[in-house]
C-alpha cells in the first residue's frame, strides 16, 4: 500500500510510504502493550486493596487468642486454629440466628418472586388504559427513601402487635417492590405480544398465560429478583435491629453485633471473624456461581 485511505480530516497529510506505516503500526502495538500492562497493574493493585479486608478476616479467624495482639501483625498465623470455626458456632447462638435468617430470607424470596411477577405482568403484558401513567408513579416511588416511612411503619406494626416477630420483615415482600417491578417489566416487554394474543384467542385466561407462558420464559429475570432480594434479606441489618427484640429471634446480622457488644469480655475477635466468615460464605459462593445474574441485575437496574 502506498497511500493512506482518505479520511474526512482537514489536515493535509503527505503521502506515506510503507516504512512509516510499519513503524507507526509497531508503535501502536507497543502502546497497546504498555496500556495493558498499566491496566493490569491498576487492576491487580485495586483487587489486592479490595480483597485485603477479607483476606485479613480469614487470617484473623484462624489465629489462636494469644496471637491476636502480636505487633507487628503477622500475615499468617503461627498456629492455624481451624477449631475457631467450631468455637464460634458454640459461643454465639449461631444456629438460632442462622435459622431465623434462613426463614426470613426464604419468605422474602418467595414473596418477591410471586408479587413482582404478578405486578410486572400487569404492567407489561396487558394493555389497559392509564397503564403507562401509573407506571410513571411506580418509577417515582423507586426514589423515595425508606427513612421517611420508617417510624410510622414501626408504629403501624406495633399497633398490629407484629413487633418482635418476623412478619414486618417478610410481609412487605409480598406486595412487590417498585425497583423489581421496573426490572421485570423491562424483561417482560421483550416477549412478543403476538404470542400472548394468540393464547388469548385460544381462550386462555390471563392467569393461565402467566403460569404457562410467561413464568417459564421469565426464569432468568426471576432468578435475578430471587438472588438480589434474597441477599438483601440475608444481609439486612436495620430491619432486624428495629423489629426483633428477643435474642432468640435475631438474625445473623444483628445477632452477631448485639452479642459482640453485650459479651465484649468473652468474645474474642477471632471468633467474631470466624462467625462473620460463616455468614458471608453462602453469599460468596452464590456470587461466584451466578455472577452473570448479578451483572445483569446491576445493568438492568440502571437503564432508564
Amino acid at each position: 500500500m502506498s497511500s493512506v485511505v482518505s479520511t474526512t480530516s482537514t489536515i493535509n497529510k503527505p503521502p506515506v510510504d510503507q516504512q512509516t506505516v510499519a513503524r507507526q503500526r509497531q508503535r501502536r502495538a507497543m502502546t497497546k502493550l504498555g496500556e495493558s500492562v498499566v491496566a493490569r497493574v491498576i487492576l491487580i493493585a485495586t483487587c489486592v486493596l479490595f480483597l485485603v479486608p477479607f483476606y485479613w478476616m480469614f487470617v484473623t479467624a484462624l489465629k489462636p487468642d494469644a496471637e491476636l495482639s502480636i505487633f507487628p501483625p503477622e500475615l499468617w498465623p503461627r498456629a492455624v486454629q481451624w477449631g475457631n470455626f467450631l468455637a464460634a458456632v458454640n459461643t454465639f447462638p449461631f444456629w438460632t440466628y442462622f435459622g431465623n435468617t434462613l426463614v426470613i430470607t426464604a419468605g422474602v424470596i418467595i414473596g418477591s418472586i410471586i408479587s413482582n411477577l404478578f405486578v410486572a405482568y400487569g404492567f407489561a403484558c396487558i394493555r389497559w388504559p392509564g397503564r403507562d401513567l401509573v407506571f410513571y408513579i411506580v418509577l417515582a416511588t423507586v426514589f423515595i427513601p425508606l427513612p421517611v416511612a420508617l417510624i410510622p411503619l414501626f408504629d403501624m406494626f406495633a399497633y398490629l402487635h407484629w413487633t418482635n416477630t418476623f412478619l414486618p420483615l417478610i410481609v412487605p415482600a409480598f406486595f412487590s417492590s417498585s425497583f423489581y417491578v421496573f426490572m421485570l417489566r423491562q424483561f417482560l416487554l421483550q416477549i412478543p405480544s403476538d404470542l400472548l394474543d394468540a393464547a388469548r384467542i385460544d381462550g386462555a385466561s390471563e392467569l393461565q398465560i402467566l403460569w404457562r407462558i410467561i413464568f417459564p420464559l421469565a426464569r432468568p429475570a426471576l432468578a435475578i429478583v430471587a438472588i438480589l432480594s434474597g441477599i438483601a434479606a440475608w444481609n439486612d441489618f436495620t430491619g432486624p435491629l428495629i423489629y426483633l427484640q428477643d435474642d432468640t429471634l435475631r438474625t445473623l446480622s444483628v445477632g452477631l453485633e448485639t452479642f459482640r457488644t453485650v459479651n465484649s469480655q468473652d468474645v474474642q475477635v477471632n471468633l467474631l471473624m470466624a462467625a462473620s466468615l460463616l455468614v458471608i460464605v453462602p453469599t460468596v459462593i452464590l456470587f461466584l456461581f451466578c455472577q452473570r445474574f448479578f451483572v445483569r441485575g446491576a445493568i438492568l437496574g440502571s437503564i432508564k
Partner: protein
C-alpha cells in the same frame, strides 16, 4: 392521553382495565400501605409528642422549632454532608477508573470483574467488623502499613477512631469497597460508546487524554449523574457503619443523620420529633436531587447514548 373514565371506555378496554388492576393490586396495596400512608402519618406525627407507649399528644410546631435550634441535628447533618461531599466524588472517580481498567483487552478481565464486584455484594456489618480489626491501634494492619511498616518514626499505630476527622475518613474508605457496582454500570456505558468516535479523534490528532475528556466523559455524563444521585441518596442514609464501629463518636464526629434519627426514635422514644427529622431528611434529599438535575442540564449530554 387515554380517557380513564369508565363510561367512556369500550367494553374491551374496561375488561382489560379490570384485569390490569387485578394484577397490579399487590403493588397498589403495597404503595398505599407501606409508602403513602406512612408519609402522611409521618407528617401528622411530626406535629405531636409521641413516645410510642401512650397516645400521641398534639403540640403544633414545637418539634419544628426545636428542630431548627437543635445543635445535634445540625452537627449530624453537617457530618452527613461532609461524608457525602467526600465519598460521592471519590466513589465516582474510583468507579470510572476501575471501569476504564476493566475495559481494556486484558484476557482475564472476568477475574478482575469478579474480584472487584464481590465486596459490594457483602453485608456492611461484616465489613464493619473486619474494619474494627484492621484499624485497631495496637495490632491493626492498616495502622502498621500507614505508619510505613515501622520505617517512619514510631511503629505504634495511631487510633484513627479517636479523631473525628479521621474517623469520618475511615467510613469514607469503607464506602469505596462498594465501588464495584458503579464500576459495572460505567463499564456498560463505556462499551456503548462507538469506536468510530475514538478513531475519528485519533485521526484528527487528539491525544488519549484529550479524547477521554472530550468524548468519554461527556458521553458518560448521564451515567455519572445517575450514580451521583443514587450515591447521594444512599449516603444520606448511612447508618450501619456508624452504629457498629463508632457509635456516633468521637465527640459526635460520626454522628450521621440516620443514626441521630434512630437514636431519637428508639433510644429516646421521641417518635414525633423523629418524624420531623425524617421529613427534613426527605426534603433535603429532594432538594439535592433537584439541584443536581438543574446543574447537570448544562453538562449532561443525552445524544449518542444507546
Amino acid at each position: 392521553m387515554i380517557a380513564i373514565h369508565p363510561r367512556q371506555l369500550s367494553p374491551l378496554e374496561r375488561k382489560n382495565l379490570r384485569k390490569g388492576l387485578f394484577f397490579i393490586s399487590p403493588w397498589i396495596i403495597g404503595v398505599l400501605v407501606f409508602t403513602f400512608y406512612p408519609i402522611v402519618y409521618s407528617i401528622v406525627l411530626s406535629f405531636a409528642r409521641y413516645s410510642g407507649l401512650q397516645p400521641p399528644t398534639w403540640i403544633g410546631f414545637q418539634n419544628y422549632i426545636r428542630l431548627f435550634g437543635d445543635e445535634l441535628m445540625r452537627q449530624s447533618l453537617g457530618n452527613t454532608m461532609a461524608y457525602i461531599s467526600l465519598a460521592v466524588p471519590i466513589g465516582i472517580v474510583v468507579a470510572i477508573l476501575l471501569a476504564l481498567a476493566m475495559n481494556t483487552s486484558v484476557r482475564e478481565v472476568a477475574v478482575y470483574r469478579a474480584a472487584l464486584y464481590l465486596p459490594s455484594v457483602l453485608p456492611l456489618f461484616a465489613i464493619s467488623f473486619i474494619f474494627i480489626v484492621l484499624i485497631n491501634p495496637k495490632y491493626g494492619i492498616v495502622n502498621y502499613a500507614l505508619s510505613g511498616f515501622g520505617l517512619f518514626g514510631s511503629p505504634a499505630g495511631t487510633d484513627y477512631l479517636a479523631d473525628p476527622t479521621s474517623a469520618l475518613l475511615v467510613i469514607v474508605a469503607i464506602a469505596q469497597l462498594g465501588a464495584g457496582n458503579a464500576a459495572l454500570i460505567f463499564l456498560a456505558g463505556l462499551r456503548s460508546i462507538p469506536d468510530t468516535l475514538y478513531e475519528a479523534a485519533r485521526i484528527d490528532g487528539a491525544s488519549r487524554v484529550r479524547s477521554f475528556f472530550s468524548i468519554t466523559l461527556p458521553l458518560l455524563s448521564p451515567i455519572i449523574l445517575f450514580n451521583a444521585i443514587t450515591a447521594i441518596g444512599a449516603g444520606l442514609q448511612t447508618f450501619q457503619q456508624a452504629y457498629i464501629i463508632t457509635k456516633g463518636g468521637p465527640n459526635n464526629g460520626t454522628l450521621f443523620y440516620m443514626y441521630y434519627l434512630y437514636d431519637t426514635a428508639f433510644a429516646q422514644a421521641q417518635l414525633g420529633y423523629a418524624c420531623a427529622l425524617s421529613l427534613l431528611l426527605f426534603v433535603i434529599g429532594l432538594v439535592l436531587a433537584l439541584v443536581l438535575f438543574t446543574v447537570a442540564k448544562r453538562f449532561v449530554n443525552y445524544e449518542l447514548v444507546s
